[in-house]
Amino acid sequence: MHLITSSVGRKLLMAVTGMMLVGFITVHLLGNLSIFAGSEAINIYAEKLHSLGPIVWIFRLIMLGLFAVHIALGIQLTMENSSASPEAYAIKARLKTTFAAESMIYTGLILLAFLLYHLLHFTVQVVHTDAVATLQPLVNGRLNVFAMVGNSFNSAFVSIAYVVAMCALFLHLSHGLQSFIQTLGLNNGPSQDKVSAIGKLVAIFFGLAYIAIPLAFLFHIVKI
């Protein structure tokens, strides 16, 4: 009970769910990067994934739970925090905090909007349906996920939407990763700045790696 009502308890839940989401985006990235391994690789990966059947659904439910907790607490904590500091200073210097730290709720909400769009795009397949059509005909008896992704990202609009969302991911992680270490109490003082620097580097890696996928198709570095 204390864990879901107290200040520090809820921060811990944010941190743990946030880190599990990072676990998810790591696995997801590894899968996605298979587009660089030829047109067949991601089709095989997608087929394997779908053959897992009920496990996929269990996994989806867990993801839903993680997002629900992370988002609900994120919004609740942010609202409490703004009501705790109702009056703004006429002048306020920024001493140490970063743009990324100040915009966590906004980058989070951008990620939420992106998540919904992304699911409608590639999972439910109800937006950009002309690209989805390329799933048929089958290639070597498999759905042509590679062509679906490629045709979607050939549109500058779609690519830019993905790039913008991944910039939000970069910002969210550049504060979030080191925040996780601090919230779990794993910082000893001298480690502080190093952890922040490493967190930023990892965030840059995630951002660039994800952005590379739409751009690779948009600029025909990877051809369909």
């Binding site: 705790a84 500091s85 703004a88 966590m104 925040s179 003082g189 502080q192």
Partner: protein, 245 residues
């Protein structure tokens, strides 16, 4: 030197405040910031006006009473310096200086630059103590405390409870203050017994007194006139996790 001051004036807790402009003339660079304000106040009194109300007591950087946000920085932003220890030599002739009170829902404004910081006291009452029989003076080396532990506790104990951490925090969180107390007592043998209840009660009181939640901006560490490190917040978080074990 001559300065232009923009000072927050507010008649009482319910009154609407605003920034008013004053000229500080012939300020000596050897004066402290509070002495400069004393002179401004003398002029105000001579002119039959209400002097600027501000908190102060020791004027030597140890009591934690002085509390002003100067140009957007609590205590003026000089490293490890309280307002009373800030000297006018850090300013230049012709400077415009904004002086505001600590701003947080948990610190209601009494008058002008004076805020009510009782909420920090309430957090202390929730666990910032040890319940042990003090008896007579203990034998010097009866209770052995390793030097690194003593140093760690002393670093945390440097906190003077001024509230600059809250004033600088975008969330008006009192985590640095609370964590300094939790960490200081958690590492010492006298404090270990109540460690679990302490961290829960003090963090709970933080919330019920209207402070925000820490989101690791680390503004507090930079604002702290005693250089309290955010590693104590990590210690508080660790103590909190341990309280469930």
């Amino acid at each position: 030197m001559n300065l232009t001051l923009h000072v927050w004036r507010q008649k009482g807790p319910e009154a609407k405040g605003e920034l008013e402009t004053y000229q500080a003339k012939n300020v000596s660079e050897d004066q402290s910031f509070l002495e400069m304000l004393d002179d401004v106040n003398e002029d105000l009194i001579k002119a039959g006006k209400d002097p600027i109300a501000f908190d102060h007591d020791c004027r030597e950087g140890i009591c934690g009473m002085c509390s002003q946000v100067i140009n957007g920085k609590p205590h003026g932003g000089q490293e490890r310096t309280t307002v009373c220890q800030l000297h006018m030599r850090s300013f230049n002739d012709g400077d415009e200086i904004f002086i505001e009170p600590w701003r947080a829902k948990a610190f209601p404004i009494h008058k002008d630059l004076i805020v009510d910081r009782n909420a920090l006291e309430v957090i202390m009452q929730a666990g910032g103590f040890t319940s042990c029989h003090t008896g007579g003076v203990a034998d010097g080396n009866a209770l052995l405390i390793p030097k690194p532990v003593a140093d760690y506790a002393m670093d945390a104990a440097e906190c003077i409870g001024c509230g600059a951490c809250v004033a600088s925090c975008p969330n008006s969180s009192a985590m640095l203050f609370t964590s300094a107390k939790v960490a200081q007592l958690a590492v010492l043998p006298q404090g270990k017994g109540e460690a679990k209840a302490r961290v829960k009660n003090m963090t709970e009181t933080m919330l019920s007194e209207g402070f925000g939640n820490c989101t690791n901006h680390y503004e507090c560490q930079e604002a702290c006139p005693k250089g309290i490190n955010v590693k104590f917040i990590a210690t508080l978080n660790r103590e909190y996790i341990k309280s469930f074990c």
